[in-house]
Structures are given as structure tokens and as C-alpha cells.
Symmetry: C2
Subunit: 285 residues, 2 copies
């Protein structure tokens, strides 16, 4: 039996961060400090942790960050006004609205307010549409991270059958479009899928993005499949039953250490991309 | 053996047109004539026919139309300028750029110029993104027409396995998103798909959008499948081998008389939608 390759997200993230750091340094030498604004509404502890991690990563790799903290009772209008302010702020190159937001807020409206050229997290419908059409600049970060992992390990995508489990606007859907644009045949499964096991068992590549711990079973997986576990459930448990799937997979991401760290690396990379584009616009205008 | 249901696109189109006509009449009574602007570049005879058909349909159902005819040698900049003019023109509620455009034109750039609220043909990446996210106003017309046919004949979609053959930005891709949003499990196949017959044979619903005459073979189709043939090839031949597939399908669209006529009905409906929205904006502002 051949050995299962562990797809090390930390390693992929490290390589992306190194490139980002060099480019951020160059920008600084030209007087531009790439800057990510993070917006956090309320006091969800997990969200606080994520935002803090992103801020720390910015610091570590030569970006700056602005942290906007709004109270739990913030209205949609207040949040929209704050995002519009950040859209106008020339120091800010990327905007990240940490979700989930409190329930009184129209999250979609808030997302849609983010200017396309600052949507480094890839949450706007316009950005999604551009990515689907093949010319988008900032795909949603986790799907972009998944592609980075596949590419780092030179896993063939063209002609392969990818089964994406989940259809959220920032994970399953954009992952399906990125894979399709790389010439995979793509099946999108979800909570209403009938006979999910049968669909999954036909995959050459499985993208698990369900948000349910150990959801993908070992006996669903055909031998030799590449498994990307994009789930993060409480207690560092993925969407895939890792123990059961490991021996069947030709390659698999661990949890933690799969798409998670690459997601942040992509976010920073996108912010530097946005800063470079802003510089180019200044130079050529 | 049970009888195969013929999904009559003309009948579906007629019903949509009737509703559109009533709504157009109401708008006229309020002083607004819903207006579609068609833009045709060059002298492709098929394109001329399509544009003429659309203009005639407008006339028949109480809409007006403005026909813009540009010479073959039009540049991207000239076309973009014309579209921007139509975006600003308050008499115009919907804009249709007939494609294909001559090869010197950046077709995507021209499409992207169309204002979102006038993109009644559903060609912009932003419109596509909104439709994918589930709140878009104007899905691309042929996919919307396909959904109208399925709904008219009360064909169940939720939980069904839909296989879409083709991934063009105005047909295969948006069709896949509309079906996904209606809770189908969706597989998108295309020219790089390996073992296409195997994928197609698993479908409950086949959407053929390949642009190759009689491409889908009878022995690819499992008994009881619903087949929508969105192909239109020379000589009124669809993408499906109709004779061979007919007896296996539980329901099938004929060519001609399938999604074609419904596409135009949706285009006019969208134009009236856009005019109603413009009226509402005037009333409430």
C-alpha cells in the first residue's frame, strides 16, 4: 500500500507569507504600508481570537492593521457607515468584516458595502462573480488557500472529479468555481443531497466544508482520493473522520494545520496585492 | 412504459408573455413605457435575426425598444461609450448587447459596462454573483427560462441530481447556480470532463448546453431522466439526440420550442421588472 501524503497547510502558509513579507518590504521602501482593517462587532470570544491572530500576522509580516471594534448593539446602518468610511480611507488597502455579526445586523448588506478593490476577504457578490468568470482578483480566502495547497503539492486538478460538500458563499460555492475554472468536473453536495455517500465515493478530490465534526466517513471514500478538510469544529476537529479516512486517501490535510493557516496567508497576500494595485494606479495616473 | 412528457417552451413563453403584457399595460397607464435597448455590432445575419425577433416581441407585448446598430469596425471604447450613454438614458430600462461581437472588441469589458439595474440579459459578473448568492434580480435569461419550464411543469428539483453539460458564463454556470439554490445536487461537466457518459448517466435532470449537435447520446441517459436541451445548432438541431433520448426520458424539451422562446419571454419580463423598479424608486424617493 502506498503511503498517504499529509498536505501540510503550515508549510504552504509559510511559503506564501515569505513572499508577502518581501513584497510588503518593497512597498514600505516606496512609502506605502499595506494595511488591513479588521471590523469586529460584539464580543464573541472566537471572533476576538481570529481578529487578534490576523492582526498579529500583519505585524509579523510587515503589514499594518487597523482594528475597528463596534459594540454588540451596532445597527446595520452604523456598520455600513463605518465600512464606507474605510472604503474612502486611503491608508486602508483591505477590509475584513469578521463574521458572524450579531443577529440584528443585515450581514449581507454589510458585506456588499465593502468596495470591490478592498474586498481582500472575497465576501462580496461582485467579487464572487468576477472569480467565477475567471478574472476576479480576490477569491474568498479559504477556497484560494485550498487551491494553494493543491498547487503546492502539485496535485492534478484538470479532468478530476471534485466533490465539494457545502455551498456557503465563502467556502463551498467559491471553491466549486475555482475548481471548475481549473477544469475539474465539479459536484456540489449539501444538506439536501440525497445519497451523499454515493456522490462522495466517486470523488477524486473531496472538499469537506460542512461544519459538522467527523462528518465524512471512511467508508464513503474511494482509495486514492485527495481529501481537503476545510472544517473547523470545536476541539480542533475537522469535517472529516481523519483516522478512518487517512489510510484510504492518497493525500489529506490534517486538522489543525490544513486550510486554516493558509487562509490567513492568503488574506495578507491579497492585502499586499491591493496595496500594489493602489500604488500602480497612483504611478500611472 | 410510461409516456414521455414534452416540455413545451412555447406554452411556457406564452404564459410569461401574458403576464408581462398586463404589467407593461399598467406601467403605460402610469406614463412609463418599459424599454429595451438592443445593441448590435456588425452584420452577422443570425445576430440580426435575433435582435429583430426581440424588437418584434417588445412591440407585440407592449414594450418599446431602441435598436442601436454599430459598424463592424467599432472599437471597445466606442462600444463602452455607447453602453454608458444607455446606462444614463432614463427612457431605457434594460440593455441587451447581442453577442458574439466582432473579435477586436473586448466583449467582457463591454458586458461589464452595463449598469447592474439595467442588466436584464444577466451578463455582468456582478449580476451573476448576486444570482449565485440567491438575491440577484436578473439571472441570465436562458437559465432563468429553463427554471421557468421546470416550474411550469412542476418538475421536482430539490434533492435531485442535476448534471449541467457546459460552463459558459451565460448558460451552464448560471444554470448550475440556480439549480443549486433550489436544492439540487449539481454536477457541472464540460469539454475536459473525463467519462462524461458516466456522469450524465447518473442525472435525474440533464441540462445540455454544449453547442454541439446531437451531443448527448441515448445510451448515456438513465430511464426517467428529465432532459432540457438548451442547444441551438444550425438546422434547428439541439445538443441532445432527441430521437434516441425521447423514449428514455420522463420529460424532454423539443428543438425548436424548448428554452429558446422562453429566453425571450424572460428578457421582456426582466425589462418590465426593471421599469417597475425604476417607477418605485421615483415614487418613494
Amino acid at each position: 500500500m502506498s503511503k498517504t501524503l499529509i498536505l501540510d497547510g503550515l508549510r504552504v502558509a509559510r511559503e506564501i507569507h515569505q513572499q508577502t513579507q518581501k513584497r510588503a518590504q518593497k512597498l514600505r521602501e516606496q512609502g506605502i504600508v499595506p494595511c488591513l482593517a479588521t471590523v469586529l462587532v460584539g464580543d464573541d470570544p472566537a471572533s476576538h481570537t481570529y481578529v487578534r491572530m490576523k492582526g498579529k500576522a500583519c505585524e509579523k509580516y510587515g503589514l499594518s492593521s487597523i482594528r475597528i471594534q463596534l459594540p454588540t448593539e451596532t445597527t446595520t446602518e452604523e456598520l455600513v457607515a463605518k465600512i464606507e468610511e474605510l472604503n474612502q480611507d486611503e491608508r486602508v488597502h483591505g477590509i475584513l468584516l469578521q463574521h458572524p455579526v450579531p443577529s440584528q445586523i443585515d450581514e449581507r448588506k454589510a458585506f456588499e458595502t465593502i468596495a470591490l478593490h478592498k474586498d481582500v476577504d472575497g465576501v462580496t457578490s461582485h467579487g464572487y462573480g468576477e472569480v467565477s468568470m475567471g478574472f476576479g482578483e480576490f477569491p474568498s480566502c479559504t477556497p484560494a488557500g485550498i487551491m494553494a495547497i493543491l498547487d503546492y503539492y502539485q496535485i492534478p486538478i484538470e479532468g478530476k472529479h471534485a466533490v465539494v460538500i457545502g455551498r456557503s458563499p465563502i467556502l463551498g460555492k467559491p471553491a466549486s468555481q475555482l475548481l471548475l475554472n481549473r477544469n475539474a468536473t465539479v459536484t456540489v453536495c449539501h444538506s439536501r443531497t440525497v445519497d451523499l455517500a454515493n456522490h462522495v465515493s466517486q470523488a477524486d478530490i473531496i472538499i469537506a466544508a460542512v461544519g459538522k465534526p467527523r462528518f465524512v466517513q471512511g467508508d464513503w471514500v474511494k482509495p486514492g482520493t485527495v481529501i481537503i478538510d476545510a472544517g473547523y469544529n470545536k476541539g480542533n476537529i475537522g469535517d472529516v473522520d481523519y483516522e478512518a479516512c487517512f489510510s484510504k486517501a492518497s493525500a489529506i490535510t490534517p486538522v489543525p494545520g490544513g486550510p486554516g493557516p493558509v487562509t490567513i496567508a492568503i488574506l495578507l497576500k491579497h492585502t499586499v496585492d491591493a496595496a500594489e494595485r493602489m500604488l500602480n494606479r497612483l504611478v500611472y495616473k
